[in-house]
């Protein structure tokens, strides 16, 4: 028998060091690190080196960086790290759409080793066969997982992969002489903001389809939106609501018939690994975020990888180079006749590729399916429990199950107590949790999005739910308590008024000193 423990929130307090800004640690004459001294013979041979600099290119005053001893620099940044809750510390369910799963520690050992960290991208191919093998094999794994035919790891994140997809769509129509005519990209409101924004960088006019009462875009609306001006469709499925669009095949068919290409935003594919693929829904392009579904850590926001996949027909449009294998050795292939060129320097973020490779190898086909299964199981468990919390609801798809995440609403809580999603997110920090509202615009009123992944134990999930429940109770009993949160965090209510005022905003310490007339 598994003994049921009563889930409760913990008596948490985050570290609070009251840590100064680094410039305030400046002490003249201190040093954090020394540079290897130049050999006497070199100095005798070439002199001081810097006299070579043309007059106009000499720095007259050294940069006003702080002078700090090594241990104090270390301590400062360690303290700042303690002012931060990574997925390794909190039960990171609350950043829905971002798949905050466990990033295995063994994979960090791999990326730190000199055989990974001390590789230069332009080394002779014979000296990087291991790195190329890993890139090539991950490509073949993702081909299988997506059903598409070729992957590039160049894009540095999901939005970057969307940019690459939009670039390929543009190049494809350009080759057919239709780039000027096909100037519209269609997306949906519950697809990531970058599906609209990154496509607009390529000059596209964006058509956004809104949801019906089921939370899904309408086939009829898509039919009206397509025309000879349609360049492509960029869409997430399941959308950010966690609802799977069962008519997705009709969507891709309609866009194909109009002459457009279909790009599948699979930044987060965690719930559908080996369940359904880009191939089955007839997509031409897709991408996976290796820092989401495939476990590479998020690093406070990168470095990361949006692994971009395409069908056979679009292979020649990928960024160069791709990695290939001739049966004996791995090599870089630049010979793609219609390549869009590059989106990022060299071959992308190799450490993310290496971690994703190791993660897939650890799980295998069955493990991937189990990861998806448990992510979906966890999500539907949370759905059931959140719906029981007073003031919370799960709009759309009533009575149906969801895939990997749910976009919930505190609308009732706000109506009945005045406590908003933002208030709840701040109060969650008092219990060592993070809760994210959602992407703008807030179509779902007072939204919050939860995505548990496969990584957290039931007990941890219950603890997180206890946090939500407690805050909802507080909202009904003592709304001010929630509204004035956080209390146990590093800082208190932040004054945002200066951040939107050009006279007052300060993006660097020097700007702060100037604008507040502070003398140092």
């Amino acid at each position: 028998m598994i003994k049921e423990k009563e889930p409760k929130v913990r008596n948490f307090h985050q570290a609070k060091w009251d840590e100064p800004v680094i410039f305030e640690l400046d002490t003249e004459g201190e040093r954090g690190i020394l540079i290897p001294e130049v050999e006497k013979e070199i100095e005798e041979s070439v002199g001081d080196g810097v006299s070579e600099l043309p007059e106009s290119m000499r720095r007259d005053k050294p940069p006003a960086l702080p002078e700090i001893g090594q241990m104090r620099v270390l301590k400062h940044y360690l303290r700042l790290s303690q002012h931060c809750l990574g997925a390794d510390l909190n039960v990171d369910l609350g950043q829905g759409t971002c798949t905050m799963k466990y990033s295995p520690k063994i994979n960090e050992e791999f990326v730190r080793s000199p055989e990974s960290a001390a590789l230069h991208p332009l080394q002779d191919e014979s000296t990087v066969q291991g790195a190329l093998e890993i890139i090539y094999k991950l490509d073949t794994f993702l081909r299988e997982i997506s059903g598409l035919d070729r992957f590039s790891f160049q894009p540095g994140g999901g939005s970057h992969a969307i940019l690459a997809m939009a670039s390929i769509i543009h190049a494809y129509h350009d080759l057919r002489g239709e780039a000027d005519q096909r100037d519209e990209v269609i997306t949906t409101i519950f697809s990531h903001p970058s599906d609209a924004a990154a496509a607009a960088v390529k000059g596209y006019k964006i058509i956004t389809l809104y949801q019906n009462e089921d939370g899904l875009p309408e086939v009829e609306a898509l039919k009206k939106a397509v025309s000879e001006r349609t360049a492509g469709l960029l869409i997430t499925n399941p959308e950010d609501t966690g609802i799977f669009n069962p008519r997705i095949e009709e969507f891709t068919k309609i866009v194909h018939e109009a002459g457009g290409l279909c790009g599948y935003d699979q930044a987060n594919a965690n719930g559908i690994l080996s369940i359904t693929r880009a191939r089955e829904a007839d997509f031409d392009l897709c991408f996976f975020n290796l820092h989401k579904t495939f476990s590479s850590p998020h690093g406070c926001g990168g470095p990361a990888t949006g692994a971009l996949g395409v069908t056979e027909e679009l292979k020649d449009f990928l960024p160069v180079p791709v990695v290939d294998y001739d049966g004996k050795k791995y090599f870089l292939d630049y010979d793609l006749p219609h390549t869009i060129g590059k989106v990022r320097s060299f071959y992308g973020v190799f450490p993310a590729v290496l971690r994703a490779y190791a993660w897939i190898m650890s799980l295998g086909a069955e493990g991937l399916k189990e990861a998806a299964h448990i992510a979906v199981l966890n999500n539907n468990y949370i759905l059931k429990k959140v719906k029981e919390i007073r003031g919370a609801s799960a709009p759309y798809a009533r009575g149906r199950h969801r895939i990997e995440q749910v976009r919930y609403s505190w609308e009732n809580l706000t109506k009945e107590t005045g406590v908003t999603t933002e208030d709840v997110t701040f109060r969650m920090a008092d219990f060592g949790f993070h809760l994210w509202s959602s992407h703008h615009p807030f179509i779902v009123p007072q939204p919050f999005t939860i995505e548990p992944t496969e990584s957290y134990s039931k007990e941890e999930i219950d603890e997180y739910l206890a946090g939500l429940r407690k805050i909802a109770e507080e909202a009904y009993e003592d709304p001010e308590k929630v509204k004035n949160a956080p209390y146990n965090s590093v800082v208190h209510k932040i004054d945002h008024s200066t951040l939107d005022d050009p006279e007052k905003w300060a993006i660097t310490w020097r700007a702060y000193l100037k604008k507040n007339k502070i003398q140092t």
Binding site: I2, V21, I22, R31, G32, I33, V38, V46, V50, M57, Q70, V73, L78, Q82, A87, D88, S103, P121, I134, E144, G156, G158, L163, A197, A198, V201, G203, F244, E249, I272, S274, I275, H291, H298, G299, C300, G301, G341, F350, L354, A358, G364, G367, L368, E370, A371, R400, H401, H440, P441, E454, K458, S489, K493, D495, L499, I507, T508, A511, Y512
Partner: protein, 465 residues
């Protein structure tokens, strides 16, 4: 014999059978399959993914992955003179300690409350870079220099309302490919020639190409080919006289000794922070910066997050948050400036640690030792018959072009010879610069000892003489 029950995978705690059953019961579902009811049969993947056999034990996985990585020969085991935008600089141990911290490594997009440290560390990064660049606005890092340059150009296009960019033809070819893609089809590109003797921008060519449709001039300093573009001020003036912006890409590690581009009137400055405490990682250690003056017309055109410092409800407490969030695509989708998402934040935090360790004097000494070592290498190489180093007559910072033309050898031949002696020779420039046939780009930094350089010189002498 009893059949051994398959253990739950360590990464998937709730696959323990009893937990799984309990959760299904709570949901009221018979099995997990039922939860996928919305996915029609026609879309279901049938069968099993064709992937290699799993290696669930950590030890076995380590043997497997380490076995593959062992096929690499790293720059630590060899002497490498490769640069070209990914540079071998020493990474201080404190940088690694901080960039490996769980708190930073596994954080993402928390609020300024539970992730106060992430906001402060990135604000400090912006501030430290601001001192280095002598500018008041620096972004939270973008992907890399390629993206930073691309966005700088698009910003210039929006600020000036013009649609053509002039680019020096000595910029990095790898970067130019990314810039071309990012500009297409909104901003058109015209290349400006260089003087074949000095490498410097041909100002007559620049004057003949600049017009009332030019949004800006983009050049790099030190240039991709290593020489120092000392005409910075003149180029900026020509841009400004024509209502265009001056955009300069810079290697920040040069700025302990070199004037920052703001001193020669650059309006937008960009570059890469890989060299500041981030490992090369086969090209995975990059992060891009963009910096400008603190003017609303510039700030409002950044697509990136910009973290600012502010007050809290407690007297004397610092708070941090997003400056002008509503300009971003997170705020307003396609109405925002380009797009924002996951870029290279951890490289920024690490670069902040690096600059804090270095301080003003450390960076000065670093710049000096790099110049001394690279000058020594150029001098010694130039003594070899058949080798010209540097090819361009201008002063150089840490990289320089070496010509083997007079020796009658291709770079490929030279590099093969060096590789046999465990030396990675410079990057072959001939594929990208047809006029630089038999030329290679060499990079010398503080990590190269006199003995490393002498070994290279001896080997090249043996090869060409």
């Amino acid at each position: 014999m009893r059949k051994r029950e398959k253990p739950a995978h360590p990464y998937i705690p709730n696959s323990a059978p009893k937990i799984k059953a309990k959760m299904l019961e709570e949901i009221g579902a018979k099995n997990v399959e039922e939860l996928y009811g919305d996915i029609p049969a026609s879309l279901r993947f049938k069968g099993k993914l064709d992937l290699p056999e799993a290696i669930p034990s950590e030890y076995a996985l380590k043997r497997h992955v380490v076995g593959i990585l062992a096929k690499n020969r790293s720059c630590q085991e060899s002497i490498s003179f490769l640069g070209a935008g990914c540079w071998p600089h020493y990474v201080p141990a404190v940088c690694d300690e901080i960039s490996q911290r769980s708190e930073f490594l596994t954080a993402y997009a928390g609020e300024p409350y539970e992730d106060h440290g992430r906001f402060q560390a990135l604000f400090e990064y912006e501030s430290l870079m601001g001192e280095l660049l002598d500018l008041d606005v620096v972004n939270v890092p973008t992907y890399d220099w390629s993206q930073a340059a691309s966005t700088s150009i698009r910003m210039a296009g929006r600020i000036t309302g013009r649609k053509e960019i002039l680019i020096s033809d000595t910029v990095s070819p790898d970067r130019l490919l990314a810039i071309r893609n990012y500009c297409r089809p909104v901003v058109s590109i015209q290349m400006v020639r260089h003087d074949p003797g000095t490498g410097l921008m041909d100002l007559d060519d620049l004057r003949s190409k600049i017009s009332s449709t030019t949004c800006g001039i983009y050049f790099e300093n030190p240039s991709f080919l290593g020489f120092i573009e000392h005409q910075g001020k003149v180029i900026s003036d020509i841009a400004h006289e024509n209502g265009a912006l001056s955009i300069v890409g810079v290697d920040p590690i040069s700025l302990g000794v070199m004037a920052p581009p703001s001193h020669y009137r650059a309006d937008i400055v960009c570059g890469d922070i890989q060299g500041l405490g981030n490992h090369m990682s086969f090209g995975g250690g990059h992060g891009g910066f963009i910096a400008t003056r603190d003017e609303e017309k510039f700030v409002m055109e950044y697509p990136s997050r910009l973290f600012g410092i502010t007050k809290t409800s407690v007297e004397g407490e610092y708070g941090f948050g997003d400056v002008a969030y509503d300009r971003t695509s997170f705020g307003v989708r396609e109405e925002g400036k380009e797009f924002v998402g996951t870029h290279a934040a951890l490289c920024g935090i690490t670069a902040g640690v690096y600059l804090s360790l270095m301080g003003p004097k450390g960076l000065q000494e670093l710049g000096q030792t790099i110049m001394q070592r690279s000058q020594y290498a150029m001098k010694k190489l130039a003594e070899i018959k058949g080798i010209r180093a540097p090819l361009f007559t201008s002063p150089h910072f840490k990289e320089f072009v070496v010509s083997f033309r007079e020796a009658g050898k291709t770079v490929e031949e030279i590099n093969r010879f060096l590789l046999e002696r465990n030396i990675f020779g410079g990057v072959d420039l001939s594929p990208d610069f047809p006029e630089l046939e038999s030329c290679a780009l060499y990079c010398v930094t503080e990590v190269h000892t006199k003995e490393d350089i002498d070994r290279l010189v001896r080997a090249l002498k043996e090869c060409v003489e």
